[in-house]
Amino acid sequence: MAQPFPYTYYACDCYDGNNTSSTKRASQLLQEAEEEERTFDPRSPRANYSLYPLEHLLYCEDCQQVRCPRCIIEETLNWYCPSCLFEVPSSVVKSDGNRCTRSCFSCPLCTSNLQTYSLDQTGESAPPFILECQYCRWSSLEIGIEFEKGQGIAAQLARLGNGGKHIPTNKERDKERERRREVEMRKSRDLLSPSTESTNTDTERDDRPPSHDDLFSNLTAFYKSQVDTQTPSNPFSSHDINFSSPSAYSRIMNLYSTTGSKKNKRSKPSAMREAASSLEGLTIHDPISDAAAIERIKREGWGVTLSPAQKHAQINPNVRFTDEIRPLATLLCTKRSKRCRSCRQILTKPESKITSTRYKIKLLALNHIPRLSIRALNASPPTPVASRTAETFDYNALKPGIPAHFLLHLSNPLFDSIKVTLATPSTTPGKVHSRVTILCPQFDVGANTDIWDDALSSSLSPIKRGSVSEGPAQIEAGKIWDRGRNWTSVAVEIVPGFTNSQGSGSEEQELEEDEDVLEIPIFVRIEYETDAGADDRGLGDSRGSKGEKERREEAFWTVVGVGRIKGA
């Protein structure tokens, strides 16, 4: 359970169809239809994708609508490593991938961070160095890897295979490929004309099956050569011309040959073929290694194998055993700016410095729509303070069938007072039917003016109720519970439903996970008048002439998580 009770989620209405580009008036139409026909069901599978806590929502002032992560566009400003907090230039991300290239690694077994330690016993940091997990104590020694330097681990690890084996660089791979190709060519020649038997010495060291990286580089080289022969463009324009490769050679030969051949080529492109040998990157199924793996599991048990999650985290998808794993370089994070999907207005733009947490632009929904919260009437305000032993309401044990009173609290972030209308289905959707009654569904909430304005003008005289501790205060239908400068609270009566279907005579219905959670969909509609000139962008409204007040309306669904109903 992610959120402790009670909580409030806000629904963005982009969840339903493609009305992200809808204007305010269209949404009004929609909401009228909604009011009549449908209520928001927090249990529908779709609701998962439209409910957000208020602090995750943005607000587009041009569209005058709430924007959720689904109806915004993100633009990456920069990349950084969350562990060493260094920015990684996007060119490096393109060439080296989205992982830290310094010394940040996470544990291949438990995902915790790895630290570099010196194995030197004398005290000071001297070689050899190892990586050790700070949580499960896995270390690179288990795969036979030690480092000579304490810095630049990523570069060292790129050259070190498990067990201290040397990993060839790309250049070495290319050379090796050429050598093997030659050997093979010679072999085939020998088969045709068995005159010399000199090459047998070379084949000795070719027994080892090619590694995943070898195959990958073979395959990329093969595809590159295929593409190159396919599109013989100007050889001098391509930036990565490799004169040692036969394809480039053939391209140059092509260029200097007669123009007639060129025409031929264009008219009849030769079909690209697929890799045909392991030298070209073909992975050949090897039943012997499968049998060996089965034998090993028989011998050593499941303990030496990897869990799906561990296997999934590895770069090489073919690893099976714990001695094949590699430390995982930390994945990079991004800083992003966000735009409205329908009008492209920038909604948030963080400062580009990695360590800065400030924003240049930040348009938050919580500055535009009221904050709604609920709490039990006879409970103290939700402080996570356990020392307040007085009376802590247990939101995790609501009693079925017994009416309980809660307070809905609305606070207004706007500088104009708002008229609020709340609506809720009388019984909650889902298998457990709880009855809900908002005792005062229509009320006003004061403007978010300065605290001192409030003190000077006592236009909104707060209704002073007896303190909660003074016995049961009366709850009257149609009357608000309490109000202050920019907030109003109203009472809600909730009769939690029965989790075991006692009322209905139907057979035993097993409740799914979290179906005993009491969540109430509440439709909130606010109306207010504001200075038309204050925000004249966007709406070409004829009503909003200068100096006049403009009526505005906003409506949205919220889901209030009250608590968990205790089974009988």
Binding site: S112, C333, S387, T389, D482, N486, W487
Partner: protein, 214 residues
């Protein structure tokens, strides 16, 4: 949850309030008070253990004879340390002897109940849930939320704006752009229990929360 003995003590006033507005529970266990600094309006609740006695024993060069007391724990303004949490400066063995390093905690940090914290630094506007363990030399950056029951391994760096959870901790999300912004929702002048709601948000200004604790 009710503690019968607690009420008797509370009658005398649960908290001792300092000149700068720090509220320290009479039932907290603080050792080495001389090595602890509180920034003002900071709350130390009941059964909290602050190990100020675990300070650096190494002769410091910067300590040019001016002040003899090294700092072991420094806590900023409006920070709340909830019940039964333990703050213990991180320790590293050097030449066979344990050496402690000073722990620094920023402003408006909320530390939930039953946490064990040995971080080297916790920046401002951090919200730490209940039963969280933060091992030695971890660094928690600004605007971070640590979910309840998380174990943050030793020396882990938690980047600004991230939500971490699990054992061991991993990044599970980002705090929203509205993290710590109360958005006018925080109405002033609400008496506690007078029908107001929470006047503070996670990661936000904790002044109202501090005020309500008494």
């Amino acid at each position: 949850m009710s503690r019968p003995s607690a009420k008797k003590v509370a009658a005398k006033g649960e908290y001792i309030e300092t000149d700068s507005g720090n509220k320290v529970s009479r039932r907290s266990a603080i050792t080495g008070t001389a090595n602890i600094t509180l920034g003002g309006r900071t709350v130390i609740m009941a059964d909290v253990v602050l190990r100020g006695d675990l300070h650096s024993t190494r002769p410091t060069a910067s300590n040019s004879g001016k002040e003899g007391t090294p700092t072991s724990i420094s806590i900023g303004k409006c920070t709340v340390v909830s019940t039964s949490s333990v703050l213990k400066p991180p320790c590293r063995m050097s030449r066979g002897a344990p050496n402690f390093y000073p722990m620094k905690i920023g402003d408006n940090v909320f530390i939930g109940p039953n946490c064990v914290i040995s971080a080297i630094a916790i920046s401002s506007h951090v919200h730490i849930g209940a039963n969280v363990t933060i091992h030695a030399f971890a660094v928690i950056k600004e605007n971070v939320k640590i979910l309840s029951n998380t174990v943050v391994p030793s020396a882990m760096v938690v980047a600004p704006g991230s939500v971490v959870g699990g054992r061991p901790a991993r990044i599970v999300g980002e705090v929203g752009e509205g993290w710590g912004v109360s958005g006018g929702g925080a109405g002033g002048g609400l008496g506690v229990g007078g029908g107001g709601e929470e006047k503070w948000v996670e990661g936000g200004d904790l002044r109202e929360l501090v005020r309500s604790i008494r």
